[in-house]
């Protein structure tokens, strides 16, 4: 597949998701205005009479033909209009842009640690295959990554946050804090970032570790490794120049897929740590049945994941000369 078909398929995917987002509230059972009246479990359900209903339907353009609605929706998205959040009483797009920077900070930090750590551990394990160190590392990594992220986060909060009072347990910065220097602000942000990022990395590390270990084991069975040994190259050199590079190439797109899982994981981690990102907004939206916000948050998270996959795809084409020249 060359670059242009790839780009086209990504654009198709995004249109597919936007279409899905448009139809979801419309095909689901129930009243199209239920997002306004809230869930029946809400404290004060709003009751609409016929006249108000008609007026509201007209106001939201829900009485227009479906195609017209779809056109308006797409046009709105292109203008950054994602609707109005009932719970926060503000435009969804404003709320999301405020939250996105925190999510990107968290995801960026976690992804960087995750990829490097996973690859290094996987390579070490494969290099010592069958030995005691490999078995121990394998058991250890599989064990810690069996913790679901939300449970691990709760444990961290109790053990490291509350009991040791070593880490702040919620938020992205200390509320009402006044910083004298930017450095102080950065430090505060970092302290808040550490636990959520750690949780994300630990809960997901198993996938990338196993991927790298398996790919590396396959490479180590290849003849050119034997040749490199026969040439008398140092173990360190073989591991870095011959084994790791070749083991990484086939799994880059799969790594990108795992990064997608990690980004999805922020929904749980941000919820547990009350981290003010998009994932936490998704949780709030679910709790308060704030459907416009829910759809907006879903859209943003999905777009972030797809962008990550896209970047990986493009990098892959750069790294593998066989793909490049095709």
């Amino acid at each position: 597949m060359n670059r242009i078909t790839k780009i086209i398929s990504y654009i198709t995917l995004i249109i597919l998701i936007l279409t899905f987002n448009f139809f979801l509230p419309r095909v689901m059972p129930g009243d199209p205005l239920s997002f306004l009246t809230g869930s029946p479990t809400m404290d004060m359900p709003i009751v609409l009479d016929e006249e108000m209903r008609a007026e509201l339907l007209a106001y939201y353009g829900l009485d227009k033909p479906l195609l017209q609605q779809f056109y308006d929706y797409m046009l709105g998205i292109l203008h950054g209009d994602l609707g109005w959040s009932i719970y926060f009483g503000a435009p969804v797009s404003d709320i999301l842009t405020g939250a996105l920077k925190w999510t990107l900070l968290l995801v960026g930090t976690a992804t960087a640690i995750y990829i490097v750590l996973g690859i290094v551990l996987g390579a070490i394990s494969a290099w010592n295959r069958g030995s005691k160190r490999d078995v121990e590392l394998l058991t250890f990594v599989l064990s810690i990554s069996s913790f679901p992220s939300f449970f691990l986060g709760m444990l961290f909060i109790i053990l490291l946050g509350v009991n040791l009072s070593f880490f702040p347990i919620s938020g992205a910065q200390t509320p009402f804090a006044e910083y004298s220097t930017p450095f102080e602000a950065a430090l505060d942000t970092f302290r808040h970032l550490l636990l959520p990022a750690m949780t994300l990395v630990i809960a997901h590390i198993g996938g990338i570790y196993l991927l790298m270990r398996n790919s590396m084991l396959n490479v180590l069975g290849e003849d050119y490794i034997l040749t490199a040994r026969a040439k008398g190259l140092s173990e360190w050199y073989i591991m870095h120049k011959h084994a790791m590079k070749n083991a990484l190439l086939p799994i880059i797109t799969m790594i990108a897929l795992r990064v997608g899982f990690l980004i999805s994981g922020t929904i749980f981690v941000e919820t547990v740590f009350a981290y003010p990102g998009v994932g936490r907004l998704l949780y709030d939206a679910v709790t308060y049945r704030d459907y416009p916000l829910l759809q907006g948050a879903f859209l943003i998270i999905t777009l972030v994941i797809i962008t990550a996959n896209f970047v990986a795809d493009m990098t892959y084409a750069h790294l593998d000369p066989r793909v490049k020249h095709e």
């Binding site: 069958g130 679901p148 449970f151 709790t287």
Partner: protein, 284 residues
Amino acid sequence: MRRIIAFLKEYRNSMPGLMGLGIMVFFMVSAIFAPFVAPYDPHQMYKPLEHPNSDHLLGTNDIGQDILSELIYGSRVSLFIAFFVSAVSCIIGTALGLLSGYYERMGFFLMRIVDGFLAIPRLPLIIVIVAFLRPSIWNLIFIFILFGWPFTARIIRSEVLSLRNRPYVDAARMLGARDFYILGRHILPNVVPLIIVQLIIEARHVILAESGLSFLGLGDPTAKSWGMILHYAFEYPTIFISEIWKWWMLPPGLCITFTILSLMFISYSLEELINPRLRGVTRV
């Protein structure tokens, strides 16, 4: 039969595999015999927020339900969802994988659909759909199956593609065997190990997804899965600053963790058996 015994003999050598199997058997037994093992009915209410004592080994929750009984019945809900979903999505995935590997044109179209499913991030999508639907076990199961089969279909297909052109398949075809006979008799038996691994992996995904959704408050409120128990514990205001987390939050979390761990160990050991290269024996 002999192959199965040889297989089991090999499996016995894998320490993590045995550990995983042991944990799984433990949870399975408690799920199957829940009414006999659990001391109370998990919906019956007693004195709320009791600390562990001789009557309630793990105390009671905020509305007075016995937590140990909740956990035991919870294993039923969690494991049922996990294995039911993974079984059905493996059956669908295998059937479509076999057909799309064998018939090229059909395979092409089916794989485009699979591509679409795999490219869309699964978890956020499921969360949004479930939030719009009424939360019930069968809705969850339906959605997990809907997003579960493409993985299996893709893996089975690529295996079928390599099996399809083996000499013995050609031979069968020349002897006049029909397509379905070849698929059922010659190709299916060869992908069974893959299906089993896929079954375990999918069960793990479902356990994780189900407990995650329940944790976010999207589970079935009438069916107490481990994730639901954890959800109610997390929603309780003083869970982080009092002692109660030790018997209310920790046990369901550990149940989920150990189930995932056991499935991870089992699938890893099986994969090692199927793909000898992973066993770390250097090929010459």
